[in-house]
C-alpha cells in the first residue's frame, strides 16, 4: 500500500512525531511504501539539523533521516511546509539567501516545499495518515 503521513506537532513536546516514525518504520518493514511525509504546523520543528537531545534520549530528527524516504529522482520525501517553516525560523540554503539570512538549519534529509505537496500526497497515496491533536 502507498501511504503518506502528515505530522502537525513539534518534537519532544508531543509524541505525534515519534508515533508517526514508529508507524512509518513498521509500514516499511511490512513492505508498504511511504510516498511522502509532510511536516506542517509545529511539525516543521522536526526538521532542524541543529537539534541536540541529551545523549541518553532518542534523536527524532536523525530517526526520520534514517528512514531514507526518497522519490525516484533521489529527492527527499520528508517535506516541510515552507510557510509554516519560515514563520518558525526554519530555512534551507535557498530561503536563507532569498531572505538575506545567514546560515540555514534544515537537515539535508528533508526538503522545503509548498502545501501542494500535501494535496498531491493525498491524491497519490492509498492512505494519508495524520498525527497530532
Amino acid at each position: 500500500m502507498k501511504i503518506s503521513i502528515q505530522i502537525n506537532e513539534g518534537p519532544y513536546q508531543h509524541q505525534a512525531s515519534d508515533s508517526a516514525y514508529q508507524f512509518a518504520k513498521a509500514a516499511i518493514a511490512k513492505g508498504h511504501e511511504i510516498f511522502r511525509v509532510f511536516f506542517y504546523h509545529d511539525g516543521v520543528d522536526n526538521a532542524t539539523r541543529f537539534t541536540v537531545p541529551p545523549q541518553d534520549d532518542r534523536h527524532i530528527v536523525n530517526n526520520w533521516a534514517s528512514l531514507d524516504i526518497k522519490n525516484a529522482e533521489g529527492e527527499p520525501e520528508l517535506v516541510v511546509c515552507i510557510a509554516a517553516a519560515l514563520r518558525r525560523g526554519l530555512v534551507d540554503e535557498a530561503e536563507a539567501g532569498k531572505n538575506g539570512i545567514e546560515g540555514n538549519n534544515i537537515h539535508p534529509a528533508f526538503r522545503i516545499s509548498g502545501l501542494g505537496q500535501l494535496i498531491e500526497a493525498g491524491i497519490q497515496s492509498d492512505r494519508l495518515v495524520v498525527f497530532g491533536d
Binding site: 509524541q15 515519534d18 508515533s19 516514525y21 514508529q22
Partner: protein, 128 residues
C-alpha cells in the same frame, strides 16, 4: 506544590515537571507533589517504554526520597476513575532522619477535598 496532571508519556509535561521538582529540591525548597487526573499514571509500577522508544524516567521517582521530597499526594478519585488502587503504584519511600532513618512511605492517597485544602496551604502551586 507541583500538580502533575498528565500521563507520563504522550507529552513532555511529566518529565519536565520532574526536572523542575529536582531543581527546586536543590534550592532547598519545601517541595510536595500532587498526582491528579491522568497524572496518577506517572507513578504506576512496572512502566515499560520499549515499544514507543521513549526514555523510561519512572525510576527517577525513587530518587525523590534522597532529595528530601517525601510528600507525594495521590487523588483517590483519580485512581478510582481509572480502575487503579494504591497497590498499582510504585513503593516510593524515604528515610526519616528523626526516626533513626527508618524507611517510610512517601505516597499518601487523599481525597480531592483534602488535596484542595493542601493546595490552599501552599505558597506556590505549579501545574503541569
Amino acid at each position: 506544590m507541583y500538580l502533575n496532571r498528565k500521563a507520563p508519556y504522550g507529552t513532555v509535561y511529566a518529565l519536565e515537571s520532574l526536572e523542575v521538582v529536582l531543581i527546586a529540591a536543590a534550592f532547598e525548597q519545601d517541595v510536595s507533589l500532587a498526582f491528579i487526573d491522568d497524572g496518577v499514571y506517572q507513578i504506576v509500577e512496572g512502566q515499560n517504554t520499549d515499544g514507543i522508544g521513549m526514555k523510561n524516567f519512572s525510576k527517577t521517582y525513587h530518587a525523590l526520597g534522597d532529595y528530601d521530597i517525601n510528600q507525594l499526594y495521590v487523588s483517590a478519585e483519580s485512581l478510582e476513575e481509572r480502575g487503579l488502587s494504591a497497590d498499582d503504584l510504585m513503593p516510593l519511600v524515604y528515610e526519616d532522619e528523626d526516626d533513626d532513618w527508618a524507611e517510610k512511605p512517601s505516597v499518601k492517597i487523599v481525597t480531592n477535598a483534602e488535596l484542595s485544602k493542601l493546595m490552599s496551604e501552599q505558597d506556590v502551586c505549579l501545574s503541569f
